[in-house]
């Protein structure tokens, strides 16, 4: 190693006048950036170098680093800076970085948070995570190799996630003899590509992370380069929050209600600023009020701005809870329930179009379904490809339907109100990240029409409480037979009922659907919607569908009010149902004539916690029907 001295020798002021030094450092700003590069571009080495040069590494860590470098390093006797940042044991053994790691260092002007992301193809997930909070991207390129497929992919992902500042670091200049022509060619090549995907404002810097050239100070090896060093550029980039100037928006996180006299709305200001007396509108409800006070631990504030976590009180008692957005009264954000979105799939299991996922957008959590993608993006060529679904690391554009109106803004305008995650309802895994592009026109033009005869009126006229008795079980388990027996008993009790039968519905409403997983999901969604309309009309609905997936039964349960949904598991073992084989379907499935048959080559997910279980091995049809009736009475 040529130079071991610290580029950031401790400021003399620290020793002379620590109070003055600290005073000056209170005004430090913060920059979050992401480093992207292919496996051997020297990314870890660069980060290690930044930490080292800015004295973020202590002597004991350095001693450990020096001994590790000799033991497992890849740089001979020299310090292997990569060892500083390759954290987990598994990674050190494999010599690769497998997850996003965050690093910290500070210079005299700024604190930096670095998201260190691996360069492998299968970890788009990590890149997207790191890019989501970054203000700037450092794109590393090996001077010997130039712009690679991965370079383009990483740049595309950073641009997609809304990063506006790009720094092209052409690394390993020492290995090309600090040749200006090599640097210029790569910078030009990259600029052309960047412009083609809409990235503007690229700063290219020739560096050597290993040797320290142009990292902190201008390199003596490259007198032809007159631009800023890497650190100088990072220190100068403008970081006034881009959201600070827009109209006020604050998603309500938590309602602070210590006693009956105080009701404060706590949240992180996503955009704009606010002062007491400002007129605000609470969305999606739309009620207006004015800000009474910005409450804080240190006393009331005159003003607060984007990026600050505050508590507001309003002049009027209006409905406002977690998930609502308090916004500038004269310039509120949009409200919609159908969107076009760009989706990055992060789950191991592929996306299921039509399935209900939890969608978390700011502080709003709703159930949303994703439609079949309009197209998938090939991240290497940026071509649009046809796709039926998205698998891990897949990126595509699709329509998203929420079950309730969401307050939002296009992601290009607001990361806070345009970025969302999808959560699998079964596994609770975060399976996707999404960016809202715009709301669909049909959603903007479709409104709820208020009607004068309410659902309560409908039910009262029938003198009953609406229910959905949802029978689920294998084919041939006895769902239709038992449902029919239950309906006959209800009819004798003068109850108004309707039985929706799986086979019958497929002759009409759902005759366009087959038996693929996606079609089965859509089949259940439609039946759920029909059942919901019938409960609105005051009916007791009985449904007899295999409905093999938990997630879809849960989706229907959530469509209904309170405890109206009653899940009845007709728990007949496969062997019994197959032995009965009333319709001869099991035989066909076993012979391979029938694909996707539940229990044979398509799974049945039994209810975890059904409201009622009937067992047709131990019970007769009549006993099962009586058991169900006893459970659901009095129905008023």
């Amino acid at each position: 190693m040529a130079d071991h001295q610290h580029a950031y020798a401790p400021d003399a002021l620290i020793g002379e006048d620590i109070a003055a030094y600290l005073q000056r450092h209170r005004a430090k700003t913060m920059l979050r950036f992401i480093t992207c590069g292919s496996v051997d571009d020297g990314k870890s080495t660069l980060i290690g170098r930044l930490l080292y040069d800015s004295r973020a590494i202590f002597a004991d860590q350095l001693a450990a680093l020096e001994s590790d470098s000799r033991r497992v390093g890849t740089q001979g006797q020299a310090i292997d800076f990569a060892l500083l940042v390759d954290g987990l044991a598994a990674e050190r053994e494999q010599g690769i970085t497998i997850d996003v790691a965050y690093r910290f260092f500070a210079t005299e002007r700024r604190k930096f948070i670095v998201a260190d992301c691996p360069g492998h193809e299968q970890y788009t997930r990590n890149m997207v995570t790191g890019a989501s909070t970054a203000d700037l991207a450092v794109i590393l390129v090996d001077a010997r190799k130039g712009v690679l497929v991965q370079t383009r992919r990483h740049s595309y992902l950073c641009h997609l996630l809304g990063i506006r500042h790009f720094l092209l670091a052409v690394n390993k200049m020492d290995l090309v003899g600090y040749d200006q022509a090599a640097f210029d060619a790569i910078a030009e090549d990259y600029a052309r590509f960047a412009a083609s995907i809409g990235i503007s404002g690229v700063t290219a810097i020739p560096i050597s992370g290993f040797r320290g050239d142009n990292i902190v100070a201008a390199s003596a090896q490259m007198p032809w380069y007159r631009g800023p060093s890497l650190i100088e550029h990072l220190e100068r980039v403008e970081v006034v929050a881009r959201d600070a100037a827009g109209p006020f928006r604050m998603p309500v996180q938590w309602v602070n209600r210590p006693d009956l006299d105080f009701r404060g709305f706590a949240g992180l200001i996503a955009c704009g600023s606010i002062a007491p007396g400002d007129a605000v509108r609470v969305l999606p409800g739309g009620r207006t009020s004015t800000v009474r006070e910005i409450v804080s631990f240190d006393g009331p504030l005159d003003r607060a701005q984007a990026g600050e976590a505050v508590t507001l009180t309003l002049a009027d008692e209006i409905d406002c809870s977690r998930g609502d957005v308090i916004a500038a009264a004269g310039d509120p954000p949009q409200v919609a329930d159908q969107f076009e979105a760009t989706i990055v799939w992060l789950g191991d299991e592929e996306m299921r179009p039509g399935r209900g996922y939890w969608m978390k957008l700011a502080t709003q959590t709703v159930t949303a379904t994703v439609q079949q993608p309009k197209y998938q993006v090939d991240v290497n060529t940026l071509d649009h490809l046809a796709a039926k679904t998205l698998a891990l690391n897949g990126i595509g554009v699709a329509e998203v339907f929420a079950d309730r109106p969401l307050v939002f803004e296009p992601y290009a305008e607001s990361r806070s109100l345009g970025g969302f995650i999808l959560i699998d309802k079964e596994s609770n895994a975060t399976v996707a990240a999404g960016m809202l592009n715009f709301s669909l026109r049909r959603s903007q033009n479709v409104h709820w029409q208020p009607t004068d005869i309410s659902r309560a009126d409908h039910a009262a006229m029938k003198n009953q409480a609406p229910r959905v008795l949802w029978f689920t079980g294998l084919s041939g388990s006895g769902k239709s037979t038992i449902a029919n027996a239950v309906e006959k008993r209800l009819a004798l009790m003068n109850r108004h009922t309707f039985l929706l039968d799986g086979d019958n519905v497929r002759h009409g409403l759902n005759k366009d659907l087959g038996f693929t997983e996606a079609d089965r999901i859509e089949n259940i969604r439609r039946v759920g919607e029909v059942a919901k309309l019938m409960t609105d009309a005051g009916l007791i609905v009985l449904t007899a569908f295999i409905s093999p997936f938990r997630a879809e039964r849960q989706m229907v349960r959530e469509m209904m009010q309170g405890c109206e949904f009653v899940e009845i598991h007709v728990d007949t073992p496969l062997t019994v149902a197959e032995a009965r084989d009333v319709k001869g379907l099991y035989r066909k499935a076993r012979e391979g004539q029938l694909k996707n048959f539940t229990g044979i080559d398509s799974p049945y997910e039994a209810p975890d916690n059904p409201d009622i279980v009937v067992n047709t091995v131990e019970m007769t049809v009549e006993e099962a029907a009586d058991h169900i009736i006893r459970h659901i009475l009095p129905l008023k």
């Binding site: 401790p10 620590i18 202590f58 940042v85 987990l88 044991a89 965050y102 690093r103 701005q305 978390k360």
Partner: protein, 303 residues
């Protein structure tokens, strides 16, 4: 209207920590704040008071005690909880109490039984589904990759390969029965940030962070403070008074002091800025089985 200026790094870190705390409170059924009485805990507690003002923080404080903390820590513990208007829960692993587990005779077992097992017991006993911790990513390599919302299985195990992606400031707090979250509001703070914030907000910390003459013995290259009569002196050892302070606080027999004259916050920060060793260096716990010690402990359920 005043002109908009960029927030300072401490303002951004503060807002992020408050946002994380409110998110946990909004989404978890039964949160708790792990309170170790150290400087990071002090900052975390202060942030909680700010986040929920004028209400007291809507969760209790939990101190997983080993009975071997410095006396000055026990003293501040009670006072800090009272000042915040919060309930203070203290858990001591009954098995460790019974077996008299101590750092002098039991080595690594001391940390495992009092801290790792004790923490699991306390969380299970009270049914907490979310626990705030003051850990920072800059402390240690395996922490650098941990999420802000870190998931633990029903047996409190951490699997670094199954962490949930965390994008923007959207945290997925959904749990299955038995699972729990460790939430780290100070993830993005560094040691210097913590000190600067303590100074800016005038947060009370244990006096042991400031230099004063204290009785110490030098043992295995560490300066150990003789905090009470339980400290077994080896033949020939005689406590001497020296001006020392601590950069990190834990069990007194396991925590190395540094010789120092830094008796004020300014001086402590100056010393920190000019010093050449990291703060965890004074702790015996990270040195067990090489560099992977902390990662392994976390997989077993250590905080």
């Amino acid at each position: 209207m005043t002109a908009l200026t960029a927030l300072t790094h401490l303002q951004r870190l503060e807002a992020e920590a408050i946002h994380i705390m409110r998110e946990v409170v909004a989404e978890a059924a039964r949160p708790v704040m792990l309170y170790s009485v150290g400087k990071d805990s002090a900052v975390m507690l202060h942030l909680a008071r700010k986040a929920f003002h004028p209400a007291p923080p809507p969760f209790p404080l939990l101190h997983v005690d080993t009975t071997w903390k410095f006396a000055a820590m026990y003293e501040l513990r009670e006072r800090a909880a009272r000042a915040a208007g919060m309930e203070l829960l203290v858990h001591r692993n009954p098995e460790a109490v019974e077996r008299g587990i101590n750092p002098f005779e039991h080595g690594a077992l001391h940390t495992d039984m009092w801290k790792t097992q004790g923490l699991k017991q306390a969380l299970d006993q009270h049914g907490f589904d979310a626990a705030f911790g003051g850990a920072r990513r800059d402390e240690e390599k395996s922490r650098a990759k941990e999420r802000v919302f870190s998931f633990r299985s029903a047996s409190h195990a951490w699997d670094p390969r199954r962490q949930r992606p965390e994008l923007w400031n959207l945290y997925n707090a959904r749990l299955k029965p038995g699972e729990s979250i460790r939430a780290f509001p100070l993830s993005n703070w560094t040691e210097l940030d913590v000190w600067q914030y303590i100074q800016q907000e005038a947060i009370e910390i244990v006096p042991l962070y400031f230099a004063a003459p204290r009785p110490i013995v030098e043992r295995d290259g560490m300066l150990l403070m003789v905090d009470d009569e339980r400290f077994p002196l080896r033949p020939g050892e005689q406590p001497q008074m020296r001006s020392i302070r601590f950069r990190t606080l834990g069990c007194y027999p396991l925590t190395g002091a540094v010789e120092s004259e830094a008796a004020t916050l300014d001086e402590v920060i100056r010393e920190m800025l000019l010093t050449a060793t990291s703060e965890r260096q004074g702790r015996a716990i990270d040195k067990d089985d090489g560099g992977a010690g902390m990662e392994r402990k976390k997989q077993e359920g250590y905080f």
